[in-house]
């Protein structure tokens, strides 16, 4: 089942483009990464899905229901954590979370129990005033308010800012646990490392358009690989000339490194003719893949 499906979703802010003809399908139970630099259209997509802004054209469904017609019904099962969290400063954390919980049909006792569990897990003092919290602790409030009603879909828009590495790890563990229960996660970020750690599939967005959707594994496999050869003697550059798919070639006295994209047998034939002392073949990380699409 598709949890999120957009068809030619387009949003213009006046004459300025936000997103154009966005076709995106997110399946039930997957952790879907949404990557792109600031201004690429990630937040516009998310805000449109949440009904905070209206599409200029195109359509989108969540849980098979139109996002505009069934907005409130859909949001019953969505947990949202924005990149920057803002709450009512004069409220106590517990009051804000209870207020947040009061919007959902779930039993208030179950929600209260869930608030206490999550607060304990994230080490958050519920009695403090929002105004007295550090940014990281406000982010924890954001995480709890996004998860307290046990949503079926969690939408995260650059969620880790302000969280220390330990808390980031706990947060990721929490997301993985939710995912194991069948929860679908849309994880938008420009921090590629965290997307790589967490996500199954990823969409790369550039200038408001999706330019690639694939599994992280497939992206890594089908793009270039980095070869690092340690050699007994200096290798002549001419050995690599004329071979398709080689780039970023660097030769020193005892090493050769290059990026390769193509048929693996072609390159292994060349390597076999070199007197090697060691060889490394590395999958590119998401950052390298990302740069490949962006530069």
């Amino acid at each position: 089942m598709n949890i999120i499906e957009t068809k030619k979703l387009t949003k213009f802010y006046g004459k300025t483009m936000g997103i154009t003809n966005l076709d995106l399908t997110i399946h039930e139970g997957e952790i879907f990464g949404f990557i792109g630099p600031n201004g690429a259209g990630k937040s516009t997509t998310i805000r449109t899905l949440l009904g905070l802004i209206y599409p200029t054209s195109g359509s989108a469904t969540i849980f098979g229901k139109d996002i505009i017609k069934f907005g409130p019904e859909i949001k019953e099962e969505i947990g949202y954590l924005p990149s920057e969290v803002f709450y009512y400063d004069n409220m106590k954390v517990i009051d804000l979370l209870k207020y947040s919980g009061s919007f959902y049909k779930k039993d208030s006792k179950i929600i209260s129990k869930r608030i206490r569990e999550l607060a304990k897990y994230l080490d958050l003092d519920l009695k403090k005033k929002i105004d007295d919290l550090s940014y990281g602790n406000k982010k924890k409030v954001g995480i709890i308010q996004g998860l307290l009603h046990e949503p079926k879909l969690i939408i995260l828009d650059e969620p880790t800012g302000g969280l220390d590495p330990l808390m980031q790890q706990r947060f990721f563990d929490l997301l993985r646990d939710e995912n194991k229960k069948g929860v679908t996660i849309l994880f938008s970020s420009h921090i590629l490392n965290e997307v790589q750690k967490l996500c199954d599939r990823v969409a790369i967005i550039k200038d408001g358009k999706i330019i690639k959707v694939d599994t992280i594994r497939s992206l890594a496999e089908n793009t270039h690989k980095r070869f690092k050869l340690e050699t007994a003697v200096r290798v002549d550059k001419s050995r690599f000339t004329g071979i398709k798919g080689i780039s970023d070639l660097v030769i020193t006295d005892n090493s050769v490194s290059f990026l390769f994209r193509g048929h693996i047998n072609e390159i292994t034939k060349i390597i076999a003719s070199i007197n090697l002392t060691n060889m490394l073949v590395e999958e590119p990380d998401l950052e390298e893949i990302f740069m490949h699409y962006y530069v």
Binding site: Y13, S43, R47, L50, G51, L52, I53, Y54, G71, P72, E73, I74, K75, E76, I78, Y80, P82, E84, V85, F86, Y87, Y88, D89, N90, Y99, S100, S102, F103, Y104, Q145
Partner: protein
């Protein structure tokens, strides 16, 4: 209903301050009636010293100033001004604070329609205005009863007091409309004060100029205390003007709010 109750909690302290200010202010002012009515001829001489245009602009009617209703009616113009500021602040702030406080994303990502959000907020604002008016009427009546020198017509007094509700509804609905039209209101007071004072000044100028049709321009001129005292009623044409204005503002606010994009907090 959760938004409704939450808004009442948010505005609890401010509303109490407004109510106390009204009650204390009215009581203090009305307490001066004893002094004015003690020596009518002396006080009358003092008021007659003012040029007629100034008296008209300030709303002083010598013929009724020395009755408790007339004395109260004189101050009413200024109470409307204060009440207008309260209502305008409330109308402008209750929706726009979600944008200026950057909490709109929190609220509107919850499973609730924008129609319900705006209705809950409007309902809360109306309750605050009604509660303020109950205190206003009660404290006015108590003060009048305490400092009266003769009996007065309570029906006319009640009608006179209720004008505050109409003036506040005018500014509440105007504030509501402004809050959805202006993308981001950083300071509610900086918006509401000039607007309310603007209407007040139009009212003062209208009194000096004496153009009858200009009365439609400002709610401060919709209610003539002299007319109410004579007819025991409001002027229907201005009540209709107000009703049309209030409905227009509220309906337009709903339409705009439901359709508008909520921009990301910057």
């Amino acid at each position: 209903m959760n938004i409704f109750w939450q808004e009442l909690r948010f505005y609890r302290r401010t509303t109490i301050i407004w109510m106390v200010a009204f009650a204390v202010g009215i009581f203090c002012y009305m307490s001066m009636f004893t002094a004015f009515s003690h020596d009518v001829s002396q006080s009358m001489k003092l008021l007659q010293g003012f040029p007629p245009a100034v008296r008209a602009a300030l709303g002083i009617r010598i013929e009724s100033f020395f009755t408790i209703l007339g004395f109260f009616g004189y101050m009413l113009t200024y109470l409307w001004l204060i009440g207008g500021i309260q209502a305008m602040n409330l109308g402008t702030g209750i929706l726009s604070k979600e944008i200026s406080g950057k909490t709109a994303d929190f609220l509107l990502s919850k499973p609730i329609s924008r129609f319900k959000v705006i209705t809950s907020k409007l309902a809360a604002a109306l309750v605050i205005i009604f509660l303020t008016n109950i205190v206003f009427v009660a404290s006015s009546y108590f003060s009048a009863m305490t400092f009266k020198t003769k009996d007065f017509d309570t029906n006319i007094f009640a009608l006179t007091c209720l004008t505050m509700l109409f003036v506040q509804l005018f500014f509440l609905s105007l504030g509501f409309l402004i809050s959805v039209l202006v993308p981001k209101i950083k300071s509610v007071l900086a918006f509401s004060l000039p607007i309310v004072f603007g209407f007040f000044i139009i009212g003062m100028l209208d009194t000096i100029i004496g153009a009858e049709n200009a009365r439609y321009l400002t709610p401060f001129k919709y209610f003539d205390v002299g007319y109410i005292a004579t007819h025991s009623a409001y002027e229907l044409r201005f009540i209709l003007t107000e009703v049309v204005f209030v409905f227009f503002c509220i309906i337009a606010s709903y339409v705009i709010y439901i359709r508008k994009d909520i921009q990301a907090p910057a």
